[in-house]
Amino acid sequence: MKEIGLHGRGGQGIVLSGEMLANVYFYEGYEVQFMPSYGAERRGSPSNAYVRIDKVNKIYNRYAVEIPDEVVVFNMTLLENIKVKENGVALLNIGGNVKKQSTNAKIFLVDANSIALSLKLGTPAMPIINTALLGAYCKVAGDFSFDNLARVIKEKIGKNADINIEAAKLAFESVREL
């Protein structure tokens, strides 16, 4: 079983991203479970979502993911509080570089904000970055196809699907390891 954490702030589309990721893995033939972590409704507060996937077994775990195997960080202000397993994977949304973290997790960087803004997805104050980050994660994770990601974006996003798929593609191509 692999546990994936998505970490951002309310309004960044964390819940939708988790749901899309669960759908992508479902199309890949995995057993999947998507568990948003909920508090009271409040924009801007930290928002986390977790996806569990398993190639074979039904997923019976019904409690919060404590330390994910892999994390996608939508908002760098949250970095301090995010945990990832030893030898795990962390995908960070960041424009510049980040200094080597005190972890032996593999760190990947993508500038999802710039990609989103270059395609006029959202506003500078609130760029729509979830599809770009999923595109980057597709490359980093390497266990689902971009085609299935594009399929899910089409199903879940509807009329702006093409531009979101473009964002995912750009992120897929530009994500790099630290």
Binding site: E31, F34, P36, Y60, R62, A64
Partner: protein, 379 residues
Amino acid sequence: MSKKIIMGGNDAIAYAVRQSYVDVVSAYPITPQTSIIEKIADFISKGEMNARFIKVESEHSAMAAAIGASIAGSRVFTATSSQGLLLMHEVLHWASGARLPIVMANANRAVAPPWSIWAEQTDSLSQRDTGWIQFYASNAQETYDLLFLSFRLAERVKVPAMVCMDGFLVTHTKEPVEVFDNEISEFISIKEKREILDIDNPKAYGALAFPKDYMPIKLEQNDAILSASNVFNDIAKEFELISKRHYAATEVYGDSKADVAIIATGSIAEVAHIAVDNLNKDSIKAKLVKINMFRPFPKKELQEALKDVEKIVVFDRNISLGKGGIIKDEVAGSLGINNIIGFVAGLGGYDVTEQDMEKATKDVLSGKVKEDSYLWGEK
């Protein structure tokens, strides 16, 4: 043709309501139930569902309006949670006493104070004496299936039914659910004939009953609820032919020659599957006895499932303050057994993992835990 869709328990309930020819919905928002009624409102607004949705000003009125619509002849659905269910308490009795087959979804949520929006079953278990059939679903597929089964069962025995599901852990956790296309239509379109308000036959319902009349009426009601056990099996068989999914009041998983049985409901029962697998790997012969239907109480099924085990360990995500876990107490009392230890666990959404359950079970078997206890601070 049926297909699999990723959805949570709440989505699955709304989806099933849409397919159940429901005439009237009467509901009031409360976390973590709200997304059920939002989805239903969405279906109605898009013309995908033909029903009246009464947007009442409280849960008390939600159930009261449901009573009115049901006694006038409609198939009625409502949903609530925690404080809302407690506010309904009086009218829950009214619905069951009037023998109205209302179906309700309850998102199990802890009761304040202090405020909590997370999973706990004390809300619905404290309604166990209201004369409702109670189901506890462990995952989204079960919420979906039990909704159809509830309508058919409630209407057959003329007893209202609630489908309970742990807040967030079942209501919002999304997973693949196999949903029907049209193949459920015939099953769910069956509506039993029952007595309703009729201007050509003007009767009064619920009038004052003197002592000589009251008790026989209550005993008849009790018989009707008890009869739901057998009727459920019949309806579940019918359902299985369509869905290929088997439902029963209780469900056993693990080593059939087990020495120890774990009893659980809802989301904890789901996790218990892993605990049982791990215990069996550790050469401890264990099985899970999952309670799906709590009212009528599945005494016969539990007797059968527990007859050869040495020890029984119950995990209760609920508490009768001043007494302990409600399910443990009911199992012990109903079966008259004392080889049973209960753990109160996971109140207010506190996580219960397989490791917690394995350790607790081992502690019981080793004699380290000799009486009812609780799971806390294990992590």
